[in-house]
Symmetry: C2
Subunit: 214 residues, 2 copies
DNA sequence: TAACCTACCAAACACTTGTTAGGGAAGGAG
DNA sequence: CTCCTTCCCTAACAAGTGTTTGGTAGGTTA
């Protein structure tokens, strides 16, 4: 469906997926360390320590450190686009689409906090590598979905027409995704509640409604 | 004045600053590479290549790779707080203070684009190191200034009272500073124009004013 | 019992990393 | 000319990097 459904290069397993439980465990801890320290600053030995095995043993499960990163990012993007495609195919109006996309985004941040953090820190220099070319495809598709929705909304009066639409796009996009840098699951607010307040701010602003106030 | 005025440890120069021209050149190119590739992913040899000399020669000017990073970040923060302190000491109302802070922030992004990008990517794991403890001080002061202004605004009706104020703080803060990731000096808009449109979005929202629209 | 597979360890490999030591060319000062 | 300072190069070092190789304990299958 999307062009992001890459099969992570895993030459070890020829059968479909016999026992990916351990892989997922290891990928989860790797993602946590990557998110906390940064990909390049993270050593394979550190991941192994955190997972309770030796560095070399990771290479029984994965081809390379880079393929771990690949699997983390592509796995996240696959799930993200599953959610986005459902929203975009629902035939909603511009404003409702934006609301649904923002809400869906915060749900993804809730479920893939580490992957989102990694994506934000590393994607900029990963796009240069051919292996991560699918990041470019995803970015393009992402921009098309959001920007297109915003333009539809400007056309039908849902959104203001007196702003640089690309500035608005980056504003909304960044506003949502940087939340992954401070969001912690199990915090004071649910993803839906955060989405609600963010949408309220983005759509209506933070200024007081009292005309008497300066 | 601020508590960020750290003297970068430069044991080589005992006199005040005899010829810091070359230093600034090298720091500028180092900052560009750090911002583009990430600090840990950047090798000293790469910086040297970009600057047109050999890796070892950098150590005539700087104590270490880390001290380059230190000097870049502390230099940026010093200038940032010079501007912020001027705004905060001007005795403006809450809304005018926020407007001035946002505008000042975009000016700093314009002048220290690379340093801001580095700060955003690396500060999270740098705060653990004692050498970069001043980052924590700056963060605390930053939060105090912004959050305090927002609270004053809620109290006097300038800002909405029906939102989680800490969420608003993070919203405004991130919204402004992530702009450094896409901003390029000499682009379509001046820092002031970007600040104006951002403020318009943050304060009044992006929704259309036409009540007839959904 | 024998063969086999899974998941790991122990130990090393080749390479890159930040950093250092010593030296030398260029130019101004005495 | 000699001395000194500035700025850079050459060449290496030790530590850390991702990765590979061979082996092995334990369970499952035949």
């Amino acid at each position: 469906m999307t062009d992001n459904e890459r099969v992570p290069t895993n030459s070890k397993k020829t059968t479909a997926n016999p026992a990916p439980e351990r892989r997922r465990e290891l990928l989860a801890t790797a993602a946590e360390v990557f998110a906390a320290q940064g990909y390049n600053a993270t050593t394979v030995r550190r991941i192994a320590d955190e997972a309770g095995l030796l560095a070399g043993s990771l290479y029984y499960h994965f081809d390379s450190k880079e393929s771990m990163l690949d699997e983390i990012l592509s796995g996240f993007l696959d799930e993200l686009w599953t959610g986005y495609d459902a929203v975009l195919g629902a035939g909603l109006g511009p404003r409702e689409t934006i609301e649904a996309l923002v809400t869906e985004s915060f749900r993804e941040i809730d479920r893939h906090r580490a992957a989102v953090a990694i994506y934000q820190k590393e994607s900029r220099h990963l796009v240069a590598q051919p292996r991560f070319g699918y990041l470019v495809d995803s970015q393009r598709k992402f921009e098309k979905a959001w920007l297109g929705t915003l333009e539809r909304g400007v056309a039908d009066g849902s959104f203001r027409a007196d702003l640089d639409i690309r500035l608005v796009y980056r504003f909304v996009r960044d506003t949502v995704w940087v939340a992954a840098s401070w969001y912690r699951p199990g915090g004071a607010h649910s993803p839906e509640e955060i989405a609600r307040q963010y949408l309220s701010m983005v759509l209506d602003g933070i200024a007081g409604r009292d005309p008497a106030a300066a």
